[in-house]
């Protein structure tokens, strides 16, 4: 970030790699955790940490698509809830149901994302309100579906992605399936955002929507696609979270703000135009590491909310300050 802030970088400074401060932050936090709890340095320690962070990391990387395109998606937490509740109601403990439930849930997610996108693009409802409305609606649907109290259970085949570990691997000794999911979906989302024409159009739409339209970008389609990607990753995150944590009616609540916080820590520009998938995943790691530290310090759960609120405000204020210092 510091190299970016120079108005006219000289040839020398341009060659310096610009290290996003989030990576430094993650390393520092992890070192702090290891100092306080040496067991974290063992494979079971850090692998379980990664397993815990997977749902948030995938979710944040997906939510970043909407943020880069210039919007917010607050419905992702409720999509996670709906996925977990819906899957448990449909599965009724039948192990073979997983093979059609997950595709079905992805289908539902795609439809939800499509509705979000259509409402925002064509009805011009601010995305914050549209997706908040979707959040209320989906939470209501999840309640209706479960009748207020979830009855079903998730079969082990479903919980495979969130819970299962491959053991007896040399060096790292165990490898959770969730971590494999994190790497696979992380790479796919990175590729989509940073290596395709779609990703460049997302950036352009978020940077200057009117200019994008006049430059021939299919603005509506791009924005709608961003909401669909975000909703699909929310379903994936829901599958992984449900696998790890089981069924409850408020399982996804709060994740929407954590995802935005992770993106902001990773240096994403709110209201669009700039954002990086790897940095956002690192932002999720940083957030989870902070939560872990708070636990190690013996602070109660609600302190997380306070810290998260402070980080959210602090990160945006910091970014504003940096931009102002860079001038223009």
């Amino acid at each position: 970030m510091s190299a970016q802030s120079l108005p006219q970088p000289t040839a020398a400074t341009r060659r310096l790699p610009r290290i996003n401060p989030v990576y430094v932050l993650v390393v520092a936090l992890i070192l702090a955790i290891i100092v306080m709890n040496p067991a974290f340095g063992e494979p079971t320690g850090y692998m379980n940490f990664l397993k815990r962070v997977t749902a948030l990391a995938i979710l944040s990387a997906g939510a970043l698509y909407v943020i880069v395109s210039g919007g917010f998606d607050l419905s992702v937490g409720s999509i996670m809830t709906l996925t977990v509740i819906g899957s448990s109601m449909l599965a009724s403990n039948d192990p073979n149901s997983t093979y059609w439930i997950i595709p079905l849930m992805l289908g539902i997610g795609a439809v939800i994302g499509l509705i979000n996108g259509l409402v925002v693009s064509y009805l011009k409802v601010p995305s914050l309100i549209a997706t908040l409305g979707m959040m209320i609606t989906l939470n209501g649907v999840a309640f209706m579906w479960s009748g207020g109290a979830p009855r079903g259970y998730l079969p082990d085949t479903f919980r495979f992605f969130g819970r299962y570990n491959i053991t007896d691997i040399p060096v790292i000794s165990l490898l959770p399936i969730a971590v494999i999911c994190l790497v696979v979906f992380g790479v796919i989302l990175w590729w989509g955002m940073h290596r395709t024409n779609f990703g460049r159009m997302l950036h352009a739409v978020g940077d200057n929507q009117q200019a994008a339209r006049l430059a021939g970008v299919p603005v509506e389609r791009v924005r709608i696609s961003a909401f669909v990607v975000s909703a699909l990753t929310a379903v994936l995150a829901g599958v992984i979270l449900g696998g790890r944590a089981g069924v409850s009616v408020d399982i996804g609540s709060g994740f929407e703000l954590q995802a935005i916080t992770a993106a902001v820590i990773g240096g994403a520009q709110l209201l669009g135009g700039r954002g990086s998938v790897p940095a956002t995943i690192a932002g999720a790691l940083a957030l989870e590491a902070i939560f872990t530290l708070l636990n190690l310090l013996g602070l109660a759960q609600p302190v997380r909310l306070v810290v998260q609120g402070l980080i959210l405000i602090g990160a945006v204020a910091f970014a504003t300050y940096q931009r102002k210092r860079a001038g223009r």
């Binding site: 309100i129 209320i136 703000l257 709110l270 306070v306 609120g309 504003t320």
Partner: protein
């Protein structure tokens, strides 16, 4: 790019009358439904008062939210603040009538501090108001949940008069809401501050060039918004006889207050709208609620329909604007 037709004919501006149109249609729908269902017992003055009485928390909150939105800001921390205010009210009073005044003062101070903090973060740190108030919401909720996880304290019977006392058939609280709305209207219409609120919301740069201290206006609007949310929390504590840390979030007062303001014809971009529109929006919402009740809609289905109605209502206005949205 300033090419515009030389003369724009004066035309009927739909958005300036939309809230009236919506209000009339909601009333018509309600009456039609009652007649169709043959439940004319709902067509009484008492029932009208009851309908309005159900929306007092929302109404008081929305009056404050109107100020925030008029200066082109927004406040998403009202729901948490309502919870916090209700809990502080009932905990400080804790059944003791002598503590009523200290409790109210403490809650108003809390509201003022939250509003000031929101305003300062938005103006001085230049944090996007959505994020600033979302962050504030998390902080309030976290602190509150740290200390309380259930109904805490209780409100003395003397104070429950605020929610349950009536003059004839009209509850004190309903009168209070209308008096508050009247004050807000007066401030917006006749005071220098009110005029500045519209100017800053309409065009911040022009306002600054004209010598208006724009930061102070934004901070002032946020203080008013938070004070109203605090009062709404006091009322809720009086009605529920105690406060709990989830009652604000449960009522979705953040989103509903914004929706009501927008339905009332105040534009999210700021600078246009007013209090009576907001009150019309509140009445529309209570009517919709009553329609659900008369029609016997299930509670969860009601939640789903509310979400859809809020988005539809905002879309009703937003789809006409040419400006790109976030």
């Amino acid at each position: 790019m300033t090419d515009t037709p030389l003369s724009t004919p004066r035309r009927f501006r739909f958005e300036r009358h939309a809230s009236t149109i919506l209000l009339v249609s909601a009333v018509a729908l309600y009456i039609a439904l009652i007649i169709i269902m043959g439940q004319t017992r709902f067509l009484t003055l008492e029932n009208l008062v009851a309908i309005l009485g159900r929306s007092i928390t929302l109404g008081i909150t929305a009056i404050g939210q109107t100020f925030a939105i008029l200066v082109a800001s927004i406040d998403l921390s009202v729901a948490s603040l309502i919870s916090a205010s209700a809990v502080v009210t009932s905990v400080v009073m804790n059944g003791d009538p002598a503590m009523m005044l200290p409790a109210v003062l403490a809650v108003l101070a809390l509201g003022a501090v939250v509003g000031l903090a929101n305003g300062l973060v938005i103006t001085k740190l230049e944090v996007n108001p959505l994020i600033a108030t979302l962050g504030m919401s998390l902080i309030i909720q976290g602190v509150l949940s740290y200390y309380y996880n259930n109904f805490a304290g209780n409100v003395p019977v003397e104070f429950q008069v605020f929610a349950y006392g009536t003059v004839g058939i009209v509850p004190f609280s309903l009168m209070f809401m209308f008096v508050l709305a009247g004050c807000a209207w007066f401030v917006l219409r006749f005071s220098r501050f009110g005029s500045d609120v519209y100017s800053v919301g309409g065009n911040k740069d022009a306002a600054r060039l004209a010598g208006i201290k724009t930061d102070r206006v934004v901070i002032g609007a946020h203080v008013i918004c938070s004070l109203c949310a605090a009062i709404a929390g006091i009322y809720l504590a009086s009605r529920l006889r105690s406060g709990a840390p989830w009652i604000g979030a449960e009522g979705v007062y953040d989103l509903e207050s914004i929706a009501v303001v927008v339905i009332g014809g105040t534009v999210l971009a700021g600078g246009r709208g007013g209090i009576w529109g907001t009150i019309a929006g509140v009445i529309i919402f209570s009517l919709i609620d009553s329609i659900f009740n008369v029609a016997g809609v299930d509670a969860f289905v009601k939640q789903v329909l509310r979400g859809i109605i809020i988005v539809a209502a905002v879309a009703f206005y937003a789809a006409r604007s040419k400006r790109p949205v976030a």
